[in-house]
């Protein structure tokens, strides 16, 4: 039960003033600017955009600064801001086949047309602390090599000449939107993908990991992982044609999963899909594994009772803003609730003591 509390205004104001001071830290150290955060903490910015579900690097950087680096708090700020924006419309689905790739790798096919492109990756680094970074060192320019122009096709496209991989046939159904209609079960794949792409990275990672460890194991390989920019196109009603309204960086992961076939489907490779704002590859791979696990029903697989197969469990617990809102509210004043609980426990205690007293009398 919620009961209004009064008072505490001065203490609250003073707490917020102190928060601002602590946020700034030692004033003999230079203050961080929003562009510095945007440029130099870009993976944090990407995570805040993905889970805040709003692509705007400047806003995400501001939120990180305001939240003192607490990314869930920053995501909360972005979600709150998002609700103040009028929505002009929806884009045409982005064409990730047309991506200008910074990175594009396949763990399954080494000789893919267009080649394996590592991009700016942490992979193959030694994970040793680099003290040069603490010493304000300058970075050398990245080497360049003439890029061959031309499209970079999706791996599954040319791999599927034998028809051994499940197809994703073209479809133009208008997808449901959980920011407009509450998320309800059963959730179709479009709704699940929307929930997963904005889901907490840690939760999604753990769910994906659980499938690798054997809870609804689905033998995932990374068929393709690509990171790069795609244009976003939208139909402009007052013009009567579509224009590109911007460009976003995306991470896309397609898994191919071993599948022995089911009552309804032949043996083939099935697919899981991850698509996330920004350079966010841990999240995109996790999303693809969880997407695949949640597809058990449409593929005619058995429900083995694994957590990652339970759409209700996964989707209702994946959103860190909902989770933290409910979790953190329990630290706010609950004095009246607690008073009544206290009364109840005292009463129960009196009853127990009284009945023990009677037992003792009876025994004597």
């Amino acid at each position: 039960m919620y009961v209004a509390v009064k008072g505490g205004e001065r203490a609250i104001q003073n707490a917020h003033a102190w928060l601002a001071e602590e946020r700034r830290g030692d004033t003999s150290v230079a203050e961080l600017s929003v562009p510095q955060i945007r440029e130099q903490l870009s993976l944090a910015v990407n995570r805040v955009m993905a889970e805040g579900s709003l692509y705007d690097p400047d806003l995400a950087a501001l939120a990180i600064k305001q939240a003192r680096g607490d990314l869930i708090e920053a995501i909360f700020l972005i979600r709150a801001y998002r609700t103040t924006l009028p929505r002009f419309g929806a884009s045409a689905p982005v064409d990730t086949g047309d991506m200008a790739c910074d990175r594009r790798i396949s763990a399954t096919f080494k000789d893919l047309p267009g080649g394996q492109v590592l991009g700016p990756t942490f992979d193959y680094t030694h994970r040793l602390l680099d003290f040069k970074l603490a010493a304000d060192g300058e970075t050398p320019d990245a080497p360049m090599r003439n890029a061959e122009p031309g499209p970079v096709p999706h791996v599954t496209e040319f791999l599927n000449r034998e028809g051994l991989i499940e197809e994703a046939p073209h479809d133009d159904t208008t997808p449901p939107d959980l920011t407009r209609e509450p998320l309800e079960m059963p959730a179709d794949r479009a709704l699940r993908l929307q929930a997963l792409t904005r889901a907490d990275e840690g939760f999604t990672l753990s769910m994906a990991y659980s499938t690798q460890r054997g809870y609804a194991r689905n033998h995932a390989f990374v068929g393709e992982l690509r990171i790069g920019t795609v244009p976003v196109e939208m139909e402009i009603p007052e013009l009567g044609f579509a224009i590109e309204i911007g460009e976003v960086t995306l991470t896309e992961c397609e898994t191919v999963n071993q599948f022995k076939g089911s009552k309804t489907e032949p043996p083939q490779f099935t697919r899981g899909y991850g698509l996330v704002f920004g350079q966010t590859e841990r999240k995109a791979i996790s999303m693809a594994l969880v997407d695949r696990a949640l597809r058990w029903e449409e593929l005619g697989e058995d429900n083995v009772g694994a957590p990652a197969q339970d759409a209700e469990f996964v989707l209702y617990h994946a959103d860190n803003i909902q989770a933290t809102g409910f979790l953190e509210h329990i630290k706010l004043p609950h004095y009246v609730d607690f008073q009544s609980e206290l009364e109840l426990v005292r009463k129960l205690r009196r009853e127990v003591e009284a009945s023990q007293g009677q037992h003792q009398e009876a025994a004597e």
């Binding site: 419309g89 080494k110 995306l250």
Partner: protein
């Protein structure tokens, strides 16, 4: 009010180019090209969002990926040409400049706009894109499987 002369493919290209331009770039190029003409707002710059969609499996059914910020506006020149702009981010000044360029592209200033605004912007965009592509190309690898010993 004169609207959309049939130059759709061209207009689509220049509006798209300005939508993605770096902050302040269209403003700087426009102001270097000519003094700004008078205009009246049909729609003052407003900030909003667009829901970006993707497709399951890259090619399948659409789903909602998340929103992006957009600034849009529309204006008309005294001679009646209408300029529209939709630009990425929260950038009212850039939206205004882009709508002016869009309107001026329908007037006698078309060549000035092409050579002083759109072509430099196009070149900058292409250069930036190709630098990135060349850095990516330098990280291209050829993995090869080691031959296993016969035993």
């Amino acid at each position: 009010m004169k609207d959309t002369i049939d130059q759709t493919p061209d207009r689509k290209a220049w509006m798209s180019l300005m939508a993605k331009a770096p902050e302040g770039r269209v403003v700087a190029l426009l102001d270097a090209a000519l003094p700004r003409p008078a205009f009246t707002w049909l729609r003052a710059p407003e900030i909003g969002s667009v829901m970006v969609r993707g497709r399951a499996g890259g090619t399948g059914a659409p789903f909602n990926l998340g929103e992006m910020t957009i600034t849009r506006c529309a204006l008309t020149l005294p001679s009646g040409e209408v300029g529209h702009a939709y630009v990425q981010g929260r950038r009212k000044a850039d939206a205004e400049a882009a709508a002016l360029v869009d309107a001026l592209m329908q007037t006698g200033a078309v060549n000035v706009m092409r050579t002083k605004v759109l072509e430099p912007l196009e070149q900058e965009t292409t250069a930036k894109r190709s630098t990135r592509a060349d850095k990516a190309a330098a990280t291209k690898v050829d993995f090869f499987t080691m031959v296993r010993g016969e035993d």
